[in-house]
C-alpha cells in the first residue's frame, strides 16, 4: 500500500515557518524533536519541506527521534516532586502513523 504520510526534521524558526496559506492546504502534525508529518506524494508538502530545509526521514527514523525526546521528557517528569507530579501528566509514548 502506498504511504500516505511522510516525515521530516526541520527546526521551527517561528514566524513564517508554517504560513497560513500552507496550513490551509497541507495537513501538518508536529512531534517532539522537530519531527513534522505531512502528506506523502503532495507537491505542496514537498515544497514546504524544501522551504524549511527539512531532512526527510523514514517513519522508523522519525519514530526513533520522537522516542528519544519522549524518554527524556519522561525521565524529567519522574524526577519531579510528588506535589509537582500531581499537577501534570507523565509524557506518554507516541506512535507515528505509517
Amino acid at each position: 500500500m502506498a504511504k500516505t504520510k511522510q516525515y521530516c526534521v526541520a527546526e521551527n524558526w517561528g514566524k513564517g515557518f508554517i504560513e497560513h496559506s500552507e496550513s490551509s492546504k497541507i495537513k501538518f502534525a508536529g512531534y517532539p524533536g522537530n519531527v513534522w508529518q505531512v502528506p506523502a506524494n503532495d507537491k505542496g508538502a514537498n515544497l514546504w519541506i524544501h522551504k524549511v530545509l527539512g531532512t526527510v526521514k523514514t517513519r522508523d527514523e522519525a519514530q526513533a527521534i520522537v522516542d528519544a525526546e519522549v524518554t527524556a521528557a519522561q525521565t524529567a517528569w519522574d524526577a519531579l516532586s510528588d506535589e509537582e507530579k500531581a499537577d501534570s501528566s507523565r509524557p506518554a509514548d507516541i506512535t507515528l502513523e505509517e
Binding site: 490551509s24 508536529g30 506518554a92 507516541i94
Partner: protein, 315 residues
C-alpha cells in the same frame, strides 16, 4: 479593462447597511461606514507558526493575555516568574514577576494586566502588570490554582479553580483595583478551564473531566449557555462573550489540534492547529485575533480568518 458592470451587468450597489444575504463575489459600497465590501466566500481560517518563546520551550501552565500582535506570557512550570512580550513577530523577555508561579490565571492587555493564584501549593497572591513591571497587590480571599480570569488591572474577576479541600471551585472574586470581594458563585465547579472577558462580561468554558459546559458572567450572576461541541480540559483560549475560542487540551498528555469558536450564541469547530497543544495559554479572541503559545514544547501558533465579508482597501 473590463469594469464591474461589464462583468456582472450591473453597477456596484450603494447601500446604507450590509445586505442580510450575499454570495461569494458580491461587491457593494456601504455608505454609512464609507467602505467598499466584498463577500469573499465561505468563512474559514488557518493556523500558522508565530515567534518562538526565548525561555524554555517546555513552559506549561503559564499566564497569557493580550492579542495576537501584543501578548504577554508570564510564569511557568518548572516554577519561574519569567515574562515575555510578543509583538506579532517575536517574543522578548521583559521584567519577571515578583513571585515565580505556575497555574495561576492572567488577563488584560499588553500594558494593563493582572495575574492571581497558582502553584506551588495553592496561593492567594496577585500581581498587576503595567507594560513594564509587575507589582504585588492585595491577596485574594481564598487560594486557588488552575483558576480563570477576566478584566484588567483595575477591574477583574478570578473564578473557578482548584484547592484541596474541597477540590473544584465555584468561587468568583472581584478585584476593584484596591480590594478583593467574593461575589456570586458559578453554577458548575471546575478547574483546567478557559475563561476571559471583562469584570462585567466574561465567559467560562471547558474544565476538568473534559467538560463541555459554558457559563456567562454578566457582572452579577453566572448563567449556563450553549455547551461546546467537544469537551476539553487544559486547553488555551480567550476572547469576549461574543468572540471566544478554546484550542487544544484533552486528551492529556499529548493534547489536541482542535479549535472551537463561540460567537455569543453557539459554538462551532474550526481550523486545526499544526501541532497538538495542551497546558499552554492563549490570547486574543475568535476570528482573526487568536494566538496560542507555551505548553509542552509547542510552537506559538496564530489564527487568521479567510472568507466572509471583507472590506476592500482601494488605496
Amino acid at each position: 479593462m473590463a469594469t464591474y458592470r461589464d462583468i456582472h451587468g450591473f453597477k456596484i450597489q450603494n447601500v446604507s447597511s450590509d445586505p442580510p444575504t450575499s454570495v461569494a463575489g458580491d461587491v457593494w459600497y456601504n455608505s454609512t461606514s464609507g467602505v467598499l465590501k466584498v463577500n469573499s466566500g465561505t468563512l474559514s481560517g488557518a493556523w500558522a507558526t508565530g515567534g518562538t518563546l526565548n525561555q524554555s520551550p517546555d513552559r506549561t501552565d503559564v499566564g497569557g493575555f493580550g492579542t495576537k500582535t501584543a501578548a504577554i506570557c508570564a510564569g511557568a512550570s518548572p516554577l519561574s516568574g519569567i515574562t515575555e512580550s510578543y509583538n506579532g513577530t517575536s517574543w522578548t523577555e521583559v521584567n519577571d514577576m515578583n513571585t515565580g508561579r505556575t497555574a495561576g490565571s492572567a488577563t488584560g492587555t499588553q500594558t494593563d494586566g493582572i495575574l492571581a493564584g497558582g502553584f506551588p501549593g495553592t496561593v492567594t497572591t496577585a500581581e498587576t502588570w503595567n507594560g513594564t513591571n509587575w507589582t504585588s497587590i492585595s491577596s485574594m480571599n481564598s487560594s486557588k490554582r488552575y483558576n480563570n480570569s477576566a478584566g484588567i488591572s483595575t477591574s477583574a474577576i478570578m473564578f473557578s479553580g482548584y484547592r484541596f479541600p474541597p477540590g473544584a471551585l465555584v468561587e468568583t472574586e472581584l478585584w476593584n483595583g484596591t480590594n478583593w470581594t467574593e461575589v456570586n458563585d458559578m453554577n458548575v465547579a471546575r478547574y483546567y478551564g478557559v475563561g476571559d472577558g471583562t469584570s462585567t462580561a466574561a465567559l467560562s468554558a471547558s474544565g476538568d473531566g473534559a467538560d463541555n459546559q459554558t457559563e456567562l458572567w454578566n457582572g452579577t450572576n453566572w448563567t449556563s449557555v450553549s455547551n461546546m461541541p467537544s469537551g476539553t480540559q487544559k486547553g488555551a483560549g480567550g476572547g469576549t462573550t461574543t468572540s471566544f475560542f478554546v484550542q487544544g487540551g484533552e486528551p492529556p498528555p499529548a493534547g489536541s489540534t482542535k479549535t472551537q469558536f463561540y460567537n455569543g450564541s453557539s459554538w462551532t469547530e474550526g481550523a486545526f492547529t499544526n501541532s497538538a497543544h495542551i497546558e499552554g495559554s492563549g490570547a486574543g479572541s475568535a476570528n482573526s485575533d487568536a494566538i496560542v503559545f507555551a505548553g509542552f514544547n509547542k510552537p506559538t501558533e496564530e489564527f487568521s480568518e479567510t472568507g466572509g465579508i471583507r472590506t476592500i482597501d482601494a488605496s
